[in-house]
């Protein structure tokens, strides 16, 4: 979400994206409630007969937002007072948007950005800066960034805010994020929780995997990779006018529907909507810090470079850490996969006709953006994960040369979970 705010600053004459870091953290914190509320005006997507609600439930935004004034123009509950023309003042009003509301990125964005290691690297930077003098003295801008980062992401969130997704029943933000990603994608982050931040008595990955019941999308990766493989087949054959064309648009649509069903199952009744918002928001702050050239903290840490991944590598080096080897791909993939999964989740490719927009160039460049993004996703996913997307089936076994597998990819067999912890025996053994 902070990248949306950066976009709003950049669109204001005389301002730029870095102005987000000049806004006081109390205003940023309150603005998050306004950003959540603004999703009420995100339109429904899809054909008129099958309009899909954003976030799996049409009223989840309304259910969790702040109460509106009783009368038009009445007093607002805790307005952010953010003024785009001057980030250093308090305007006393919510930040009103003229066009459609803001939509936040898909949970995949948070997963991929955190996979780069940016959160842990910058957590270490913050820790060192506030506990000792192992790093350089900060400029005024760097000091503002430090204060805002610590207050927004490394302490308990303010009471009754939309960002309050830690409590005594789920006290660890790192564990909570992994729980969300495990449920949505059946995948863990590539790095463990650093020993320094692990809670006493932690049960390792069982902290976020136990008590999820059957609500885990363990087949996500297989289905997603198969979708990319089929779309690549479509791209290869898009202008093929002679010879066999192995592309099967209905199979592509089937895979999209399977992914959609999988993700919307986790979103029933607005589940995970708030968590997704908060985790995407958190990662967008760190992403914005690195993707924008010359942010104060990057300058102070002398980490000038041409890309977010290179800046991250330089900063990590300053604090004796190493980011993910494929962080360049992960940063780029985060944006692209977020939009694609959101569209899939909203049923954008549920029929063969619509699924064709992923790989068939249509007249007038109608779907040029989709084609370009899909091709890039395939390249980046293959490079980031090592899943071979562009390979063809080979071998002399009957049926192995078919372009489509016999069955849609299924989840791997479940890992037996430990016996449930008894909450209370009430003295009866």
């Amino acid at each position: 979400m902070f990248r949306n705010l950066a976009q709003l600053f950049a669109a204001t004459p005389g301002r730029d994206r870095r102005d987000v870091f000049l806004v006081h953290p109390i205003q940023l914190s309150r603005w998050l409630d306004e950003a959540w509320d603004s999703a009420r005006t995100v339109p429904a997507f899809g054909d008129p007969s099958t309009l899909e609600p954003f976030l799996g439930a049409a009223d989840v935004v309304e259910t969790l937002n702040l109460p509106r004034p009783q009368v038009i123009g009445g007093a607002e509950v805790a307005p952010s007072g953010v003024v785009l023309a001057d980030p250093d003042v308090f305007g006393g009003q919510p930040l009103r948007l003229q066009a459609s509301g803001l939509a936040w990125d898909h949970a995949a964005y948070a997963y991929l950005v955190e996979s780069t290691g940016v959160f842990e690297v910058l957590a270490e930077v913050v820790r060192r800066l506030v506990t000792g003098e192992t790093l350089d003295t900060l400029s005024a801008g760097g000091l503002r960034w430090l204060r805002a980062t610590e207050e927004l992401f490394f302490r308990d969130p303010p009471l009754f805010s939309i960002g309050g997704v830690t409590s005594s029943v789920r006290p660890d933000d790192r564990v909570n994020r992994r729980n969300c990603m495990w449920r949505m994608f059946g995948m863990d982050l590539p790095h463990p929780i650093p020993a320094r931040w692990a809670r006493p008595g932690s049960a390792g990955e069982q902290d976020w995997k136990s008590d999820t019941g059957s609500g885990v999308n363990t087949g996500f990766r297989e289905k997603w990779t198969e979708l990319l493989r089929q779309v690549w087949l479509g791209i290869e054959n898009a202008r093929n006018e002679s010879g066999p064309n192995a592309t099967d648009k209905e199979y592509v649509a089937f895979l999209c529907s399977a992914l959609k069903d999988m993700m919307t199952m986790r979103r029933r009744g607005g589940q995970l909507a708030r968590e997704e918002f908060v985790y995407v928001t958190t990662m967008s702050w760190f992403h914005l810090t690195l993707e924008t050239p010359d942010t104060p903290i990057v300058v102070d840490l002398r980490a000038d470079a041409t890309s977010a991944a290179d800046r991250l590598a330089k900063i990590a080096q300053r604090v004796g850490m190493q980011p993910a080897a494929r962080s360049r791909e992960l940063f780029e993939l985060a944006d692209l996969m977020s939009a694609m999964l959101r569209a899939i989740e909203l049923g954008a490719f549920d029929t063969g006709e619509k699924a064709e927009t992923l790989y068939v160039p249509l007249a007038g460049g109608v779907n040029a953006q989709l084609l370009q993004d899909m091709n890039r996703i395939i390249d980046l996913w293959q490079s980031a994960t090592g899943d071979r997307v562009k390979d063809r089936p080979v071998g002399g076994v009957a049926g192995s040369l078919s372009a489509q597998p016999l069955r849609i990819p299924a989840a791997p067999p479940p890992v037996p979970s430990p016996p449930p912890t008894v909450a209370a025996t009430n003295g009866r053994g």
Binding site: N4, A99, W104, A339, T357, L362, G364, N367, L370
Partner: protein, 168 residues
Amino acid sequence: MSADRPPDGGLPSEATLREFVTALHDVATAITQHTTELHDDRRRGDGDRPASVAQRRTALDYRVLGALTGRLAPGGVLVSARRFQDKDRERVELEPLPATAARVAVQAAGEEEPELLGIDRGSGSSGTVTLDRTRGKDIARLEVWNGAGQPIRLGPRLPRLPAQTPVD
């Protein structure tokens, strides 16, 4: 264009004539409204298959998602909309409308068919539609269509207007 003169020297078919008229209409629109956007992509001559309405809508939705998350520029896919009471009528003002905008499809929440409305052009790039069947209902989707009935812009979700407080 497939409107070649028939080999037998006879009159062009009705379909060919219709294609001529549509093309001329596009040229006239382009001249009077200073636009280069054609209504029908089949005449672009790039050899690619024309997009169906459903495919256009899919591509538009995808770009709108990119714009709402801040990745893509909002220009070219989004319009602002303001719903207001105008005496006894309920109206929606849209801006900026492209020159090729011909109608607005208003989809009320829970209904299957959108209401198609003509645009009253205002000053500059704004335009207004008057709600009829969708009056008093939550609007889930607001599409701007070109003359060929293809969605070209998307507006925001618009909740129904608050009830008027009676004045003693």
